[in-house]
Symmetry: D3
Subunit: 72 residues, 6 copies
């Protein structure tokens, strides 16, 4: 009985990327724990940049300063 | 001190249905656990169909295939 | 696709009361929204009294002062 | 590794108030627990008034009756 | 800024399986969304079988009846 | 109607520190948003080190390597 919640900042995640995340997380759980995929739910929640704080600052402010969350 | 979160796919739930859920869950908790209703909060969260995955697929895709979540 | 989380202070909730909550919430959702019960998950989470704060005080402190959450 | 979720009814919270909440919660955790702020995330989630139930009633209904959540 | 919560029934998940889930989810997000792994947190929450309800029944009851969540 | 969830790794947080967090978050919300404290709930959730993943590794493994979350 797995339930997974993925919270992300809302920064242009596409429908295809969401499908990749849902399929990938489900397969990972099914393969690692041998769970029935029909008992596995994944919920994605996109968060506005004003609503996510990191190190005490809104992500919207960090982005205005040119600070990204991209992999280096 | 109960707090309840109800997550649903966003598929036309009406204001009246939300009120039925809120009243029903609150009464259930008050009657089962003898809790003060003024300490009972219920939050409903509707999730877009692209954002809910079931068995590795987006619910939006399942709906396009004619697969519903209706009671049989 | 409903998922419900019920958070309660850990104060002697019995297995039977949990079953009553799970059955009651599931029936409420099935009847109100016409959802398939096999797509409905309910998770109960009991919270220690030191870990729940109400009006700025730990519930454990409120209970020591004789303040309960019982219905009047 | 702290993660904080703040759920509020959507009633005109400003960008500046959100920044105050994010900065305040982060400072509180950093000072109380001596945590690195770069490991502290805060997420604010605003909830529509139809979607928050208190004592069995939708907050939207309570507001129509003139009942507020303001400090007295 | 991703945060992921994985809720599972407590049924003997090992430390190694948890590490596989954490590594797998993090890699999936980093590769799909090009996110910095140092901004990616994953939290696993194991739920007692009395506390998880499926189709209106406690999972503990389902397990006593011989109904598992295993992949077929 | 605010509800706050604070998730922390379980690393010796004391009852007094929890009270400081609960009081501090409640005061912050009451003062910033002018909310009635009797409508403000705060829940602390401590997470085992094997169950929290950061940058793809369990915090328990990071701690074994001498990597802490302390403020520098």
């Amino acid at each position: 009985m797995p339930y997974v919640k993925i919270e992300l900042t809302r920064e242009g995640v596409t429908r295809e990327q969401k499908q990749t995340l849902i399929k990938g997380v489900t397969d990972l759980i099914v393969n690692t724990l041998n769970k029935d995929p029909h008992l596995t739910h994944v919920v994605i929640s996109e968060v506005e940049l004003d609503d996510w704080g990191y190190a005490g600052e809104q992500v919207s402010v960090l982005r205005e300063k040119g600070i990204t969350a991209d992999k280096k």
